[in-house]
Amino acid sequence: MLSHVLSYPVAAAKGPVERVSDEELARRSRQGNNDAYAVLVERYQRSVVNLVYRLVGDWQTALDLSQDIFLHVYQSLDRYDPERPFKPWLYRVATNLVYDHLRRQQRRYRILDTVEVTPEVADEHLTNPEELALQGDIRRAVEEVIAALPPHYRAVVVLRYLEDMSYREIAAALDIPLGTVKTHIHRARELMRAELAAKGWMP
């Protein structure tokens, strides 16, 4: 299977590709430029799929749902205002679609809020085995903590710790009050602290 590589040359001339802003790409996509949209998908696919994965707990579902999300975003572009930041808007659409999906799942199977996170091979950027082992343990621990959180908490935590979004951006993305964002983060910290203590990693 060939992997198709897309690039978007900003100027027709040869030379390095300057970085076009998300908002500009979204604006061009709105005007019918599909290549611009493909660049946006390339930029955000990892973030979106990993966020969705943390919310639904299954990798294949995350991939399928993310495709739906990017399709939906494309079709909703006429409702996006390029004067406003793109990233929170993208996450707003994404989380809404995921919540819809979770609600449908709950109606059908009455699944509890906590999900089983299926183990996958993680990207490793570490060198020595001890570091690797400890990192592995911490990673598993944090995955458990996150999986045990209700979906709304999970979204806040992932946007904060994976996407490095500010509290304000998270509040805008999820359409919740700033205070709620902070409370969720504090709760996550406390749970994580308790988990680390339980595992005996607090010296």
Binding site: Q67, K182, A197
Partner: protein
């Protein structure tokens, strides 16, 4: 005063939410209070751990699949491949049924007889080849009659399917005349990274 720092204060400190003076007070306090220093360090460690959420690589064809879905979604139904094949199928089946219906009808038992004599190569056929041809025509006619026994629904059914199929073909053909070609383009272009 030997009061300890509240959890709220510690969280706010980590959030960067405290004014300069309040921050200074916290720093001063943890310098001397071992308990609160421990609590702050524990929360810091929790912060660090939370940043260790594993992330995974998305398959290489993800973007291509998204763009394909966009294309399909923006292609009207009468331009899609499945529509064209459905039209072809209807025309074929309808036409076949009609073709069979116009052929002559002969009962099945006679079919079996003639077929058998053909297979055993009755010596009379060697004498007169015309008899052989006649026998073969008889076999074919017997087959058609067998189908005709199925009912008089064959003719109207055949006509209906043929008409419907032809209509769909025409709709598709007209739509290709009306607009620029879109769904037949290659999925993505491979371009060198600049």
């Amino acid at each position: 005063m030997s009061t300890h720092l509240s959890e709220e204060i510690l969280h706010a400190y980590l959030d960067g939410d405290l004014a300069w003076e309040a921050r200074q007070r916290v720093r001063e306090h943890v310098r001397t209070c071992g308990v609160c220093r421990r609590r702050l360090e524990d929360l810091r460690r929790a912060e660090y751990a939370l940043r260790q959420i594993p992330t995974f690589t998305v398959p290489a064809n993800f973007t291509a699949q998204v763009m394909q879905r966009i294309r399909t979604a923006s292609t009207p139904p009468w331009r899609q491949r499945s529509f064209v094949w459905a039209a072809h199928g209807l025309v074929l089946v309808g036409g076949l049924l009609l073709a069979l219906a116009v052929a002559e009808s002969v009962p099945f038992s006679a079919l079996a007889e003639q077929g058998f004599s053909l297979l055993t190569l009755d010596p009379t056929f060697l004498i007169d080849p015309l008899l052989l041809l006649d026998a073969m025509a008889g076999v074919f006619a017997h087959a058609v009659d067998g189908l005709m026994q199925v009912g008089e629904t064959v003719v109207p059914l055949g006509m209906g399917l043929l008409a419907l199929g032809s209509f769909l073909e025409m709709v598709h053909w007209l739509s290709t005349m009306a607009s620029e070609p879109s769904s037949k383009e290659p999925l993505t272009e491979v371009r060198p990274w600049a």
